[in-house]
């Protein structure tokens, strides 16, 4: 190929690659690195950061010295786990039913799952303030869990449905012919095959719940605060930015570990599927 033909092709490559890359390096990657740097600095007298070059590991030391932070981290994981489990239980029958519906009806049933999800996040929380307020259940751990499940449920239904839709009905028929009860067919065939769907749905639910501040703030009591509320407090109220940054770093590490775990789980599940089919 001559130079005149390779040259414009190369230029095209840079024209499409550079603008989004530079934008995201400037406004995503760089800010993320700034958080790491900020966590190693000292808080300023009037908020923000103390002037360069003051730096220390105080923010991290502080986090591990005070038991309250460990408690809040533990509580956040517990709330995320409980929300994820409740989402799995609530999503499964619906996802299964949609997957087993006639093809022409499936799109409509899926759309019906997505529509409430398309309404504003705060509006969905507000709906629960309206419902739980008169019942006297507002500002309780129950309200926090109800709100969390409500806000994230479609994120579990959709990947689970995508997985269940691909199951070969012949497998269940074969199990039935071999005398397996409905209960056995579910636990020995359908459920193990659906694990990749459960894993990806769980990642989509668990990760945002872990960083959520609006649900505990608007539906929970003062004792229900989670990591997200703590981070928000440090940045907007207490103005201890190094501490807020250290908390954000710990949350990031937790999220990356969970994402890796979910990817690993989904892949393992997938290998299982191949072995069965």
């Amino acid at each position: 190929m001559s130079d005149t033909r390779t040259l414009p092709a190369d230029r095209t490559k840079w024209v499409v690659t550079l603008p989004p890359t530079l934008f995201l390096i400037a406004f995503f990657l760089l800010p993320a690195l700034i958080v790491v740097a900020a966590s190693l600095r000292e808080p300023g007298e009037f908020g923000g950061l103390a002037p360069w070059p003051a730096h220390s590991l105080d923010a991290y030391r502080f986090l591990f010295r005070d038991v309250i932070y460990v408690e809040i981290f533990a509580r956040s994981f517990f709330v995320a786990l409980l929300t994820t489990l409740l989402c799995i239980v609530a999503a499964y029958p619906l996802a299964w039913l949609i997957a087993r519906s006639p093809a022409r009806r499936r799109d409509l049933l899926v759309l019906l799952v997505i529509l409430p999800f398309a309404s504003n996040f705060l509006v969905r929380i507000y709906a629960w303030i309206m419902i739980l307020g008169p019942a006297g259940l507002l500002y309780s751990p129950f309200a926090v869990i109800a709100g969390m499940v409500y806000v994230h449920l479609p994120l579990m239904i959709l990947p689970l449905y995508t997985n269940l839709e691909k199951h070969d009905p012949a497998l269940l028929e074969a199990a039935q012919d071999l005398g397996a009860s409905a209960w056995t067919r579910f636990w020995r065939v359908t459920f193990p095959l659906s694990l990749p769907g459960i894993f990806s749905g769980s990642a989509l639910v668990f990760i945002p719940v872990l960083g959520m501040f609006a649900v505990p703030e608007l539906l929970g009591g003062t004792g229900d605060i989670l990591i997200g509320n703590l981070i928000k407090q440090q940045f907007l109220e207490d103005r201890d930015w190094p501490l807020g940054s250290a908390l954000s770093i710990l949350l990031t590490i937790a999220v990356l570990a969970l994402a890796a775990l979910a990817t690993w789980g989904a892949k393992r599940g997938l290998h299982g599927t191949e072995a069965v089919s």
């Binding site: 603008p19 406004f27 760089l30 398309a118 504003n120 709906a127 959520m212 609006a214 999220v255």
Partner: protein, 259 residues
């Protein structure tokens, strides 16, 4: 009851769980009572109050301006990213483009707050919100554009080149018409994301500029009033229409929202 009946009952209960709370919000926006507790009678007075509330109108105007600008820019940058990911198969690009979408929103919010205040020393407001919205929208557009391109026969681009078309001609006459539905869907999707965003906007808005979700937040922190129901109902109408339109142009849109 057979197991199938139980299944239907459980599924219907889940649909009810998804819809009843939102239906209550809509219903009580037409209720002729200061309290959201009991149905009194039909009224449009909350909507009347809404359109005469200068703070609310200002917030709506800001939301609209930011949504138009951020989705326009995000569509261009996202389309480029989608093209680049599909055509040149960089290993690092998907990580850069998709991580902002997968992270908890609060992390993007605080990192941009730190960056704007500490590094750029920018006064928070319209510009910081705009940049933040572009940042989280690029990934969604890129996914939609990439999945549109993935289903295509790449030989048509080669054919155009072999027939002597310049890269620009190939783009204008072949690529652009083919990805147009994905661009429309990506635009509508980023518009929805922008007009709906609360968490990231909350961190980068500062004190001067308010958007609709921020306005709703400050109202529901104080008290439950039917005016919130009215603005929620209108916002729901707008986003539902946009998501529905987007799904007409590119069915993959719904999957992109999942990711």
């Amino acid at each position: 009851m057979t197991s199938r009946h139980w299944l239907w009952a459980a599924a219907l209960a889940t649909y009810a769980f998804l819809y009843v709370p939102l239906a209550a919000v809509v219903l009580f926006s037409f209720n002729d009572s200061q309290l959201n507790a009991q149905w009194v009678g039909f009224t449009l007075s909350w909507y009347h109050k809404l359109v005469h509330d200068p703070e609310m109108l200002g917030a709506a105007f800001n939301s609209l301006m930011i949504a138009v600008l951020s989705s326009t820019i995000a569509t261009v940058l996202g389309a480029m990213a989608g093209l680049a990911m599909q055509r040149y198969r960089y290993r690092w690009l998907p990580a850069l483009v998709l991580t902002p979408v997968a992270m908890p929103e609060i992390l993007l919010g605080v990192s941009l707050l730190l960056f704007f205040r500490q590094v750029l020393d920018l006064t928070l407001g319209f510009v910081s919100i705009l940049i933040a919205h572009i940042t989280f929208s690029i990934g969604f557009v890129a996914v939609i554009v990439r999945s549109r391109l993935a289903g295509m026969d790449e030989s048509i681009f080669e054919a155009a080149r072999d027939l002597g078309a310049t890269p620009w001609q190939t783009f204008r006459r072949i690529t652009l018409p083919l990805i147009l539905p994905a661009l429309v869907a990506g635009y509508l999707m980023s518009f929805t994301l922008s007009i709906d965003d609360f968490v990231i906007t909350f961190f980068v808005a500062g004190v001067g500029v308010t958007t609709l979700p921020l306005q709703i937040y400050s109202m529901i922190k104080v008290a439950v009033t039917p005016e919130v129901n009215a603005v929620s109902t209108l916002l729901m109408g707008v986003t539902l229409t946009l998501v529905f339109l987007a799904s007409r142009f590119a069915p993959d849109v719904l999957k992109a929202r999942e990711a």
